[in-house]
């Protein structure tokens, strides 16, 4: 499809600015002016509508396709939360208003959302306080790690290392490195959880903490988690809970109850806010009492007269991690989702996320190599190893699924499983949708044995097929206007 810039026609307009109603024609000194015009396209409003409508048709989405992307929790995003997020009383509020004298009185509605969401998340996770500021999961990780660093600094601890399991998300080691730590990686044992003996051998007084998803990326809940947290706490390390997989354990287990000191929640996963093709997300961070003094400022408090206000008076705070109070409209949607579902709805959510994942796992294991043959939580990991014997790889299976109208699972992650295919159906999918997916996977397996060469031509139904990624990197073209 043509680029919007290629549709540009000199002199065409798509929008009329408000009229100039003052009798001033101002100018600025010429040395402060741009010489080269900005080449935004010159198109009509209909051109814009058609262009982006047709672009949208080239996407797979939860709204249109089964989307079992492991680790991403691609559940249905309820519509009613959109109508709430679009209420003018929320969208038009300037973030600096509550920082004016008595300005908090102008934003009681928004401050209440932030305060009440903090309370709800504390009850869901057994943490003592949350900051809503982090703008995505990885941003939450960094916020958490900076608080951990501040904790150790305040105690005079000399800490150098963060421990991560080999099955962790790439953001965990990347975050720890950016926060100034070195990484110790621990391998998984035969059952798919962190090797506790290896942990023991690598643990020292210089360990600042451990970052863990629980259940982990193999979809397995680590039954030794309390033992692990005792080991970490014994060296005054801190336990960081990566909340990416929280959708599996709502009402079943709370990170704060099993020894975690700090965690983030991905509102765009567990609490159903739309992922938007890669964000915006939201990654509130919760802490227990040990870390409360270090939470970012501002914090939302309820004063003695029942009014909400911003409080900046925390001398040990790590400071500002975002410009304001977090991705407010995402938090708003998640808050509405939690109120709608309530306690029982959240429990049902995890029950069915786990039921669906186990159903898919049981059905698929007949034809696909299951990495860990045991009960799983919200997701399970297969390997395409049997199909590879015929020259068909995980990526080939993914392309086959695209032709079947299904978004492929996560492939080649976690790195612990060769040719990994990681499947997370979520609770909102029906048995029928999953059965159709299983049929498609079995067809892929059939084809891998009958005619493996055919995979090279797939996908056939999409506007493009098998992009040359090497060329994209080698002949970098990321700007239409580049000379």
């Amino acid at each position: 499809m043509e680029l919007i810039f290629e549709k540009s026609v000199e002199g065409r307009r798509g929008f009329l600015n408000p009229c100039l109603d003052v009798d001033v024609k101002a100018s600025i000194p010429s040395h402060l002016k741009r010489a080269k015009d900005c080449q935004f396209p010159q198109v009509s409003e209909l051109d814009v509508v058609r262009h982006f409508t047709n672009l949208s048709k080239m996407n797979y989405s939860v709204d249109a396709n089964f989307y079992p992307l492991g680790s991403c929790t691609m559940k249905y995003n309820p519509r009613f939360t959109e109508s709430i997020a679009c209420m003018k009383g929320f969208t038009d509020v300037h973030p600096l208003l509550p920082q004016l004298k008595k300005g908090e009185l102008l934003t009681q509605g928004s401050l209440e959302v932030l305060y009440e969401m903090d309370r709800l998340l504390c009850e869901i996770t057994a943490m003592d306080s949350f900051t809503m500021q982090p703008l995505a999961g990885a941003h939450g990780e960094l916020t958490g790690l900076m608080m951990m660093a501040a904790y150790h600094k305040a105690k005079g601890n000399n800490k150098k290392y963060i421990i991560v399991p080999d099955s962790s998300h790439g953001t965990n080691p990347a975050t720890a490195a950016i926060a100034g730590y070195e990484i110790i990686s621990i391998n998984s044992d035969k059952t798919g959880v962190m090797d506790i003996e290896e942990l023991k051998s690598k643990l020292s007084d210089e360990v600042a903490g451990l970052m863990l998803t629980c259940p982990n990326t193999h979809g397995i809940f680590n039954s030794d988690i309390k033992k692990i947290s005792e080991m970490i706490h014994a060296v005054d390390g801190l336990m960081y809970y990566d909340g990416a997989n929280l959708n599996a354990v709502l009402g079943r287990c709370r990170p704060g109850d099993i020894g975690f000191d700090v965690m983030h929640v991905n509102l765009h996963k567990t609490f159903a806010t739309p992922h938007g093709g890669g964000g915006p997300g939201s990654g509130p961070v919760g802490v227990n009492k040990k870390l409360i003094p270090f939470l970012p400022i501002s914090r939302v408090i309820k004063n003695s007269s029942g009014k909400y206000e911003l409080d900046y008076d925390y001398p040990e705070s790590i400071g500002y991690v975002a410009s304001f109070y977090g991705n407010f409209s995402i938090i708003l949607r998640a808050y509405a989702y939690i109120l709608y579902l309530g306690k029982q709805g959240l429990i049902e959510t995890s029950n069915n996320a786990v039921l669906n994942a186990n159903y898919l796992k049981e059905r698929l294991k007949e034809r696909f190599e299951l990495a860990y043959d045991r009960i799983c939580m919200h997701e399970s990991v297969f390997s395409a190893s049997r199909q590879v014997e015929n020259g068909v790889h995980a990526t080939d299976i993914a392309k086959f699924l695209i032709d079947k109208g299904c978004h492929p699972p996560t492939i080649y992650f976690p790195l612990t499983v060769k040719e990994a295919i990681m499947i997370e159906p979520t609770e909102t999918e029906s048995k029928k949708a999953m059965d159709e997916f299983v049929d498609a996977m079995f067809e892929a397996d059939d084809l891998s044995r009958k005619n493996p060469k055919e995979f090279a031509d797939l996908p056939k139904t999409t506007p493009v097929s098998r992009p040359d990624e090497v060329k994209a990197a080698r002949e970098l073209n990321a700007n239409y206007f580049a000379e």
Partner: protein, 448 residues
């Protein structure tokens, strides 16, 4: 209680039979009694109607009717209806990060167009596909400068947003980096002091245009001096001003960042916003965040993919250029729709309109007794005024008259309690500006 679960009891039982267990409880057997929640005391679920009503009432507790003359980097611009209508299409809204290019060409092409628009707006060579917001984008730029130069010092001009400066300090407090700040003189960067501090350890000089006080500047001289010292220059810019102002590219700036909220996003009480970043092509491999590149498919057809992924956390883990994963793709989409519909000429006009209205407001406000509009440097649509009394009190009184009058500088600068910054966007009418001035005059006459 409702939870968007499709399966009926009967289907659930069929599924349990396939799994070979009797109940859902058995599926949770790895979670032992010792892991059980000590409480899970949450409210009961509600109907959609009840929830929507609750929020409708909550929204009324916010004051969204104030006429905003407050900016500080976040502005009340008009957003054409077509922007939200298109970006809320489920095909964009409910897709994930485009890991599978064949079924994500919509998002990928839109992001490529977004990157191109950011490049032509700033006259830079390459842009990434977005970062969280303007403040964190500036932090990422500082980290990028450290990586490129392998130096440890940042020189930051006092005109940079105080909010951004606080963010920078938070992120680097545990790292071995040094910040030096030079104070603003007569509204613009103090070159003399800056050059005195510029040395062989300086990784980058950070400037902002227009600066926090509204002053506009040409930083070409600073860029030359910085480059001669082997340092980079990072400029934070306000996108709408670039309809008129000299671009970072024309000043030979190395890394550009900014808050993209004004490109079609609502104020939303602070987010989600849009951090943008562009740089020179030679630094592309040091840039954080996703980058969409053009390539061809197996049939030679043009298409788009995430590229240079070897920089990123999911490939590089602890050696990545940043830990960023989810960014703000949907906000980038919003902004490319906005930039497309505003168009080349509309963008120029919009900037001129903001300038004209702000100059009109200056001339009116300047006439009020005791109020002085600071005119030491030219401005775009935001400017500083000096008041005879504490600005925070004036702002408080103006709220009572229906105006968010401006941002009192005393909030972030000691000794500037009598100053405030005022913004006038294209949405402010002549009538509103005149009423504002009248209200300000009256408010200043009130004795305590």
């Amino acid at each position: 209680m409702f939870s968007y679960i499709a399966n009926t009891k009967k289907e659930q039982e069929e599924m349990l039979a396939v799994i070979g267990v009797d109940s859902i409880e058995e599926l949770f057997s790895d979670i032992k009694p010792e892991h059980s929640p000590k409480s899970f005391n949450l409210p009961k679920g509600k109907s959609e109607f009840e929830v929507v009503e609750y929020f409708r009432k909550l929204a009324l507790k916010n004051s969204s009717e104030l006429i905003p003359f407050i900016g500080g980097g976040y502005y009340d611009h008009y957003v054409p209806s077509v922007v939200s209508s298109l970006m809320s299409r489920g095909e964009f809204f409910t897709a994930y990060t485009p890991y599978q290019p064949e079924c994500s060409q919509g998002t990928l092409q839109a992001l490529y167009e977004y990157q191109s628009a950011i490049c032509t707006m700033t006259n830079m060579e390459i842009s990434n596909a977005s970062l969280y917001d303007g403040g964190t984008a500036l932090y990422e730029a500082a980290m990028m400068a450290f990586r490129i130069t392998k130096r440890k010092k940042i020189l930051i001009d006092g005109g940079v947003s105080p909010i951004f400066k606080k963010i920078l300090k938070t992120y680097t407090s545990n790292l071995d980096f040094e910040f030096n700040e030079t104070e603003v003189v007569h509204g613009t960067a103090d070159r003399k002091k800056m050059y005195a501090l510029l040395d062989k350890d300086t990784a980058a000089v950070i400037v902002q245009n227009p600066n926090f006080f509204g002053a506009i500047d040409d930083y070409t001289d600073i860029v030359e001096k910085a480059h001669a010292a082997g340092a980079l220059v990072i400029e934070s810019v306000y996108p709408i001003s670039l309809g008129l102002l000299k671009t970072p590219g024309e000043m030979d700036v190395d890394i550009v960042t900014g808050e993209g909220q004004s490109l079609g996003l609502s104020l939303n009480f602070g987010g989600p916003y849009l951090g943008f970043m562009a740089t020179k092509k030679k630094y592309a491999r040091k840039m954080p965040g996703r980058i969409v590149g053009q390539t061809t498919d197996k049939n030679g057809k043009r298409c788009f993919v995430n590229t240079l992924q070897a920089r990123e956390q999911h490939i590089r883990r602890e050696k990545a250029t940043s830990n960023i994963c989810t960014n703000v793709a949907l906000c980038a989409l919003q902004s490319i729709i906005y930039m497309s519909v505003i168009g080349k000429n509309g963008f120029k006009e919009l900037a001129q309109l903001n300038l004209d209205k702000a100059e009109f407001a200056k001339s009116v406000i300047d006439k009020i007794e005791g109020v002085e509009v600071k005119r030491s440097s030219p401005t775009f649509n935001e400017f500083t005024v000096h008041l005879p009394v504490d600005a925070s009190i004036v702002v408080e009184r103006m709220i009572g008259r229906g105006f968010a009058a401006g941002f009192p500088l005393g909030r972030y600068y000691k000794g500037m309690e009598k100053y405030m910054i005022i913004v006038v966007t294209e949405k402010r009418t002549k009538e509103e500006i005149l009423n504002y001035a009248k209200a300000l005059e009256e408010v200043l006459k009130v004795k305590n």
